[in-house]
Amino acid sequence: MIADEPGLNVRATIAIGPRVLLSDLSFRIPPGKILTLTGESGAGKSSLIGFICGALDPAFTVQGQVYLNGRCLDPLPIERRRVGVLYQDDLLFAHLSVAENLAFAVPQGISRTERRRRVEAALDEAELSGFGPRDPATLSGGQKARVALMRALLAEPEALLLDEPFSKLDPELRARVREFTFATIRKRGLPTLLVTHHDDDATDDRLHLDGQAVGTGTSRKVS
């Protein structure tokens, strides 16, 4: 693993008790690229996401490192890693309006006017202008997914982790949200890891985990 290269560099061996989920998995995702991670349930996909973003259950034992644009993330808590995460549920905060959900993500130290401008810009980009005061529960599935993506981006992440973010959407909506998400990610130049079970969602760059298939020394560079 070349830690200094731009993008997301990961090397990991993850085990729970005596069971090794991932053995010496290694890959690099350059800026603007999306690596699709597939595999059976229990193969370690969500554990890998947890490891990269710094939220892995302490019950797991891990050996490895995560470098993001030359920065080692291992000692950092989740909030200082600058890695955005999207799950299959939108996880919009139910007690906040759409605009408040977005404003929550804007980094601190930014003036109120600028925060408002960024929120409005995000709403425009998601084609949700005027939706700011709305209750998140009143949005459609596709609208919620777009708000969740824009919220993640407003935090100015340097990488994104997508844990089956389209799986709860119907096929037509899924295609539209997927296109919007991928285009936005590429425009921002973010290295992105996408976990999915759906072939339709997968990008050309793929890594398949089947528990044992990722053997020692398996390495992948997405170019």
């Binding site: 939220a55 302490p58 019950a59 909030e79 955005g84 905060f93 139910a94 993500a105």
Partner: protein, 563 residues
């Protein structure tokens, strides 16, 4: 740094929480064996035990406590399990659930006073059926309340504790995948009640074992309700010990300490006996569980016990609260009229100056102890989240310690601690002592909803740059506002109902509505008693009402927050 602060929360909480209990136990044990330097007793002796064992009231008091303790706990368990088994598949259970919180907020002493108003020979029930059905032209000469066998006390404890156990069972059902298990059993041809009893009852029982032991311990050592509804010659064991502890005879202090240790031993033995019975019943019913019977008369009996018991508990609670209010407003109420013949605010006017001071102290102590408990519990739950695993069984037992130990067993010794710290007789000592009993209930009320909150919400918040503390304050707590406020209200209600802890920690200088209500109950003025007991009842109701109304108000524009 902040994460480390959360990490220290469980140790800090257990120290604040258990140190007084441990010191209290030592402070009770030492004088029980004759060591009480303040009284000039510096050598160990068995004299206090000889005094206790020689007391002529002891055998009857012990027998009474065991009968009331075991009888009410068995009945409460039967009612609670009967109701949940009988109503699980029906809509009635959600109605009962909605009524539980207000019924549980009813302070024990006020409930006992209200029940005495209902059950006594000149009470509401006798008035309602006299002289038409009974032919009584004057109150009959019957010893219904304060009866020598403690039946009135047994009934009151049964009804009060059954409601608590129903709440505990309903919470436990959420942890045992109840619906899929029931569906599976019913698809195999089992009737709804039988399916519940076979598939869920054993698992639910394991979840509510500690609350059941707490109920047994409380029933064996109850003081406030025993003073109001129980017999006085002799009283049950705990009130007998209290009479020694509050005696002016200095030798009675060591005797009371020995009595408190005896009470501890009685409760420990009773819990051991109960556990043995659990194992025996579990073995005996194993054949029944796999006998293949899909339904039977047992099912109907279980349902009837549950329904009647719960209806009585809820109905008598409501009637008792109403009775307190009516008596407080009665100017004249002669036999056998069902309602006062004259109404007046005179009792409230007379009581007002003292009532205001009592209510203020009660609210200050209750709010302070509930808020401190809430902060500690939230910090502990957040530490648990950071650690990634719940506390072990041992910590749970420690948390329950003040509920499993008879109050008098360690409150006697806590007095010594507060006295050494020069805190005795002050609001801070009373608040700290209340915290020991408030905290377990706040933990019980908040832990499940806190643990059930989708962990990805916090993870998302933190991935957006928010710290653990900011995530807790800005995301988790607003999302959990309903259970947080409900836990606060439950803590408040527990504190308002505490009698014995106030007596001991207050050293007679701090009076609350609970101590005043019990003191007035033995007097003859039902109007004054009604005023104080109704106020004691109203305070937790108001706080609970606010705890339910505020989240609803906050969620009026947020569909996702509505339960």
């Amino acid at each position: 740094m902040r994460d480390r602060l959360f990490g220290a929360a469980p140790t800090l909480t257990l120290t604040i929480f258990l140190a007084p209990v441990a010191i209290g136990l030592i402070g009770t044990l030492a004088p029980a064996f004759g060591f009480h330097p303040a009284l000039g007793l510096t050598t160990l002796s068995l004299e206090p035990w000889r005094q206790v064992l020689d007391d002529p009231a002891l055998p009857a008091a012990l027998k009474l406590s065991l009968g009331v303790g075991f009888g009410s706990t068995i009945a409460a368990v039967l009612i609670a399990f009967g109701l949940c088994a009988g109503l699980h598949h029906r809509r009635g259970l959600s109605r009962v659930r909605a009524l539980l919180a207000p019924a549980l907020a009813f302070p024990h002493a006020a409930f006992a006073i209200g029940l005495a108003f209902l059950l006594s020979p000149s009470g509401w029930i006798a008035r309602a059926v006299s002289p038409g059905l009974t032919g009584w032209t004057q109150p009959p000469d019957l010893l219904i309340v304060n009866d020598p066998h403690g039946l009135a006390l047994l009934i009151a404890l049964t009804l009060k504790e059954a409601l608590f156990l129903i709440l505990m069972i309903l919470a436990a059902l959420g942890q045992v995948e109840a619906e899929p298990s029931l569906r599976a059993a019913r698809s195999l041809g089992y009737g709804p009640v039988r399916a519940w009893l076979i598939v869920l009852a054993p698992r639910v029982y394991a979840q509510v074992r500690l609350p059941i032991y707490a109920v047994l311990a409380a029933s064996l050592a109850v003081v406030d309700m025993a003073l109001i509804l129980g017999p006085s010659a002799p009283p049950p064991l705990a009130p007998l010990i209290l009479s020694w502890a509050t005696s002016f005879e200095t030798t009675d202090q060591t005797k009371a300490a020995a009595g408190a240790v005896l009470q501890l031993l009685v409760v420990a033995a009773a819990i051991g006996l109960w556990r043995s019975a659990e194992i025996l019943i579990s073995r005996l019913t194993r054949t029944w569980l796999t006998s293949g019977h899909r339904s039977g008369t047992v099912d109907a009996a279980v349902r009837v016990i549950g329904l009647i018991g719960t209806a009585l508990a809820l109905g008598l609670s409501a009637a008792s609260a109403l009775g307190l209010l009516v008596w407080s407003l009665a100017r004249s109420w002669s036999w056998p009229f069902a309602l006062p013949t004259g109404w007046s605010l005179e009792a409230w006017r007379v009581a007002w100056p003292g009532l205001l001071s009592l209510a203020t102290d009660t609210v200050v102590v209750a709010l302070a102890s509930a808020l401190i408990a809430l902060v500690l519990v939230i910090a502990c739950l957040e530490a648990e989240d950071a650690r990634g695993r719940p506390p072990g069984r041992g910590v749970t037992w420690l948390l329950y310690a003040p509920l499993l130990l008879p109050q008098i067993g360690f409150l006697f010794g806590i007095q010594v601690l507060w006295s050494a710290l020069r805190l005795d007789g002050g609001l801070s000592a009373v608040t700290w002592t209340h915290l020991l009993f408030v905290l377990p209930y706040v933990f019980l009320a908040l832990s499940d909803p806190f643990r059930a909150l989708d962990p990805r919400l916090a993870r998302t918040s933190r991935s957006l740059g928010a710290s653990r503390l900011a995530t807790l304050l800005q995301i988790k707590l607003p999302l959990l506002v309903r259970p947080v406020l409900t836990a606060l209200a439950i803590g408040f209600a527990v504190s308002v109902s505490l009698y014995l802890p106030t007596i001991f920690a207050g050293a007679g200088r701090v009076e609350t509505l609970a101590t005043e209500a019990v003191a007035l109950a033995s007097g003859g003025d039902r109007r004054q008693s009604g005023v104080v007991a109704f106020t004691q009842t109203a305070l937790p109701f108001i706080v609970l009402g606010l705890a339910l109304a505020l989240p609803a108000l906050m969620a009026r524009n947020r569909q996702g927050l509505r339960a």
